[in-house]
């Protein structure tokens, strides 16, 4: 990197309208929440978008709910922190309770019916209630419930294509063909739901 580039210089402001999807994924520790978010971000990047992924703060406290935050945008991203998500993915009940209120008016809630149960109370949002854990269980590995969620999102996102997600999934599970197959199935199932 040249020093000059780093020295003081003015830049043109980016003022044209950007499309940005902000996603919050939440669930238990073991539910692959971090992976879920990373896969979303990677897929966004694969599609040429600006992306950030941010975990819930580190590992200094055990247990409880974990969450990760993803932004996929056509423009530069300022903060990776998602305070009022466009899309909320909740894998367990506690997460719904904790984050439901943060979802934007008109936002999309993707909820894991198997553990969250009935519809949330809130009005004015779009809700997808899918028995992810049960579906995953049927495919033989309850850990791929998160893939159902991604599939469902990919079908509705403005920033993600199912092809990019599938590609990234493949890369994540290279040399683990068997796992890939199961996860891919879950992804497709979600896409169709």
């Amino acid at each position: 990197m040249s020093k000059k580039k780093m020295k003081a210089e003015s830049r043109k402001p980016k003022t044209k309208r950007v499309v940005c999807e902000e996603i919050l994924c939440a669930g238990f520790g073991g539910q692959g929440i971090m992976f879920l978010g990373k896969l979303l971000a990677a897929s966004g990047l694969e599609g040429g978008a600006h992306v950030t992924w941010m975990p819930s703060y580190g590992a200094e406290v055990r247990g409880g709910t974990a969450y990760s935050m993803v932004k996929i945008s056509s423009g530069q991203i300022a903060s990776p922190i998602v305070t009022d998500p466009d899309i909320l993915i909740v894998m367990n009940k506690l997460s719904l309770v904790k984050y439901e209120g943060k979802l934007k008016e008109g936002g999309l809630l993707i909820s894991n019916k198997s553990l969250v149960g009935d519809f949330p109370k809130r009005k004015g949002i779009r809700v997808l209630n899918i028995p992810m854990t049960e579906i995953a269980h049927k495919f033989g590995d309850i850990r791929c419930a998160n893939m159902v969620a991604i599939g469902a999102l990919a079908a509705r996102s403005r920033m993600l294509s199912i092809r990019n997600v599938a590609n990234m999934l493949k890369e994540a599970f290279k040399n683990k063909e068997e796992l890939f197959v199961i996860n891919k199935k879950a992804l497709d199932k979600g896409y169709k739901s």
Binding site: G29, G58, A59, E60, V61, R62, G63, G64
Partner: protein, 261 residues
């Protein structure tokens, strides 16, 4: 300061049945702990409270909690608790005990806290013969920070900082702190126990009680090392983790009393 009445088994009041023969000790709050499933910390937290209840010293106790997975101990323990900077736990306990010799002061420390960053502090507290009790939870990893190697990590064990397994050549030997402390005349009671089975857990309880008794009797420095499961960063189920202690960890770190004066 007067001692509260001594009582044998005292269980949490809200249980409300005379038929109860085992329940949460009163010194343990009802809060659910934040530990992972099958984590040994949960057991050791309870054992400490059982010992405290046994001697009826809850109101005299001042605990020093570590930085580590047990950092939230004050949420679970129903007595006075001080935080300590990582590893400085015995120094903080020394300060407290010296100005309040009638209180019962103990530290609760992980193996990173005690055997790495806090090596000097534990050795010199023992060497000074501070009349404190140390509960040392050896789970062979840094749990709180995500499962890095600890000084106690076994040879060959994979952690996030020894992805190919701990190499004796590069990282040195799993450290036997108790064996070192036992050399010091200031250390009066030194025992290693484990919580991998009910049997051993009962033994651990007795050791912890003994360690507190030493302090109550002004006998000086006592330490109990507890081999403890970290299923999360051993990448195992809790049952596998318990088995690992039995078959591997306790083979390397032999259980028993190293010293008792």
């Amino acid at each position: 300061m007067k001692k509260t009445k001594k009582h044998k088994i005292k269980t949490s009041p809200e249980a409300g049945s005379d038929n109860i023969i085992f329940n949460r000790p009163v010194s343990l709050t009802n809060a659910e702990n934040h530990f992972c499933a099958g984590c040994g910390h949960g057991i050791v937290h309870r054992l400490v409270c059982e010992a405290i209840d046994e001697f009826g010293i809850r109101e005299r106790v001042i605990a020093v909690a570590p930085v580590g997975c047990a950092v939230l101990a004050y949420d679970y323990w129903d007595f006075d608790v001080a935080e300590a900077a990582h590893g400085r736990t015995p120094a903080v306990a020394t300060g407290i005990k010296r100005v309040r010799p009638d209180n019962i002061v103990f530290t609760y420390q992980g193996d990173g806290d005690l055997a790495a960053i806090g090596t000097a502090e534990i050795i010199h507290a023992a060497n000074r013969g501070e009349n404190i009790t140390v509960i040392f939870v050896n789970n062979g990893v840094y749990g709180m920070t995500g499962g890095q190697m600890a000084p106690t990590t076994l040879a060959g064990q994979k952690t996030s900082t020894t992805i190919h397994g701990r190499s004796l050549r590069r990282e040195g030997y799993p450290i036997k702190i108790l064996e070192m402390l036992a050399v010091l005349p200031g250390a009066k009671y030194v025992e290693r126990v484990s919580v991998h089975s009910a049997q051993e857990t009962l033994r651990a309880k007795r050791a912890i009680s003994k360690a507190f008794k030493m302090q109550i009797d002004n006998k000086g420095f006592s330490i109990v090392e507890v081999l403890s499961m970290c299923p999360t960063y051993w990448n195992m189920t809790p049952i596998q983790a318990a088995d690992r202690i039995k078959n591997e960890v306790a083979t390397f770190y032999p259980l028993g009393v190293l010293k008792s004066c």
